[in-house]
Amino acid sequence: MTHRLFVPMIYLCLLLFGLLFISPIGFMLAGSLKPDARVLVEAGDWRAFWPAGVTLDNYRDVFARVDFARYLLNSLFINGMIVGAGLLVNSLAGYAFARLLWRGRELLFGLVLAVMIIPLEAIAVPLFYMVSLVGWRDTYLVQILPFIANAFSVYLFYTYFIGLPRELEEAARIDGAGVLRTYFSIILPNAKPVFATVAILTFLSQWGAFLWPLMVTSSETVRPLPLAIATFHSLPPLQWGDILAFGVMMVLPILVVFLLFQRWFVRGVAHTGIKG
């Protein structure tokens, strides 16, 4: 019933789309490895993807022109704090909503669901005004603190904990363990998938943060990579080789993490669709 050309046709389509999708990445990589002057000149034909006479000059230039290591550390620190603190704070709340009986639970959970649809963009202006009033501009704190508590993360933890069998906790309760003890010794080890999912989703949505750092930072010392590449791009002289080298170095760490934990990334993203 399947036509004998069916499979080759699928491969052909995939190959075509694949080439279109990978060409910007290939262009970036090849361009970062050749002399600045040739990047633009050779962009119009196959040579765009082929770095004849490979050189690492562009990479050296990046380090000479800006403090790349600083930006990288800023990004790693900011995102590490958001993801780490977020996992703790949001999972505790998710657990309290899913498994504890307390007054105000329904009302407060309603609040969590309500704020879930407010995007950062809708509150950026007053939030900026507020942090300016308390003098938080141009710090790490202002790039971390507002993003730790996350309604969608609380919701994901909540749905996961609701599905765990109650017997898990009952045994611990009988042994006299308190709620927190039960949480850390019984629930945590059984909830690795949801922690991985939330960690990856948080990381994916925060790693590229641009609007907020653009608004609240002005000095190089606290700026993260996404903002740094935009600034580097407009820093004269315009040398495309350097810019592409900056880009490759910026995306390489996350690309490696992605390739190593690909299954988890895909599962995490697929999870966003399983709601409602």
């Binding site: 389509c13 999708f21 969590v112 202006v125 996350n150 697929a270």
Partner: protein, 299 residues
């Protein structure tokens, strides 16, 4: 289930949920209410005028500002073009990859890869791709596929091509995300449905229209919702690639907001714009819930 307020269970629960709740209150709920309140004032940083209650004056001004109206229109055009294109592309890729051939995992990785690229990096790389002159990659590519009948353009400074250039950039970055969600949806379709259809003699095309699409409906609605909301939040690419130009051809609501609130220090006006953005998001979410619920009642 009524318990005394100072019960130890209440205390533990409050202790556990407090950090998240305080965070959400302080950094989401309060700023949001503050945005609404500010939008009815004349607050402008560094202005000598006293703070005044203006009612709906800011909103009236915004909607009579041609740049903002253009921005809203651009966001709408972006939705109307990008959402269907990107969804169909993601669906095609998901369908092609929803089988176990040699190499499908490689292709999945490949199509998903742009998702881990920060948008600002993507925008910078695509500025280079859209370089003017016959040597620019996009110009050369269009010349190639049109068999030499393409006149090179300066895409990002062209009133007709600036917005489409941003659209293409966004599609490249966003399709993989949708594809993965759709793939998960496809894999959740029970195999028996296809087997039963095959026994009844339904062909591939019929199976697609009568099984795959209806089964995928809620996933598709979700994917469309997310992409539509993202389209209204569009900012990074505009800021880096075109600065909203030329002549507002590629400006967006968020770009206008940042221009008002920061470049011109009109905090109240910026706040009003974000309130409008929120209302749009609310409307889209409400529509999605309605459409998705109808479906559940039917099945």
């Amino acid at each position: 289930m009524r318990q005394p307020l100072l019960d130890s269970r209440n205390f533990t629960a409050a202790f556990m949920s407090a950090p998240a709740l305080v965070g959400l209150l302080l950094f989401v709920a309060v700023p949001f209410l503050f945005a609404v309140a500010l939008s009815f004032t004349n607050l402008r940083l560094g202005s000598p005028l006293p703070l005044e209650w203006m009612g709906f004056e800011q909103y009236r001004r915004i909607f009579s500002d041609p740049s903002f109206v253009r921005a809203l229109l651009n966001n709408l055009v972006f939705v109307v073009v990008v959402v269907p294109l990107q969804t169909v592309l993601a669906l095609v890729l998901a369908l092609l990859l929803n089988r176990r051939f040699y190499g499908t995992t490689w292709f999945r990785t490949l199509f998903f890869m742009p998702v881990v690229f920060p948008l600002s990096l993507v925008a910078v790389v695509w500025v280079l791709i859209f370089a003017p002159g016959p040597n620019g990659m996009m110009n050369a590519f269009l010349d190639l596929v049109s068999l030499g009948s393409w006149t090179p353009r300066d895409f990002l400074h062209d009133p007709y091509f600036a917005l489409p250039a941003i659209m293409l950039t966004s599609i490249w970055q966003g399709t993989g995300f949708q594809m993965v969600i759709l793939l998960a949806g496809l894999q959740a379709v029970p195999a028996e449905l296809y087997e039963a259809a095959a026994i009844d003699g339904a062909g591939r095309r019929q199976q697609f229209w009568h099984i795959t699409l209806p089964q995928l409906r809620n996933t598709l609605i979700f994917v469309v919702l997310v992409t539509t909301i993202l389209a209204f939040r569009l900012f990074d690419q505009v800021q880096i690639m075109t600065q909203g130009g030329p002549y507002d051809a590629s400006t967006t609501v968020m770009f206008e907001t940042v221009e008002a609130a920061f470049a011109r220090q009109q905090v109240a006006r910026g706040a009003a714009m974000t309130v409008i953005l929120f209302l749009v998001v609310l409307l889209i979410t409400w529509l999605q819930r309605r459409v998705a619920r109808q479906e559940r009642e039917v099945t």
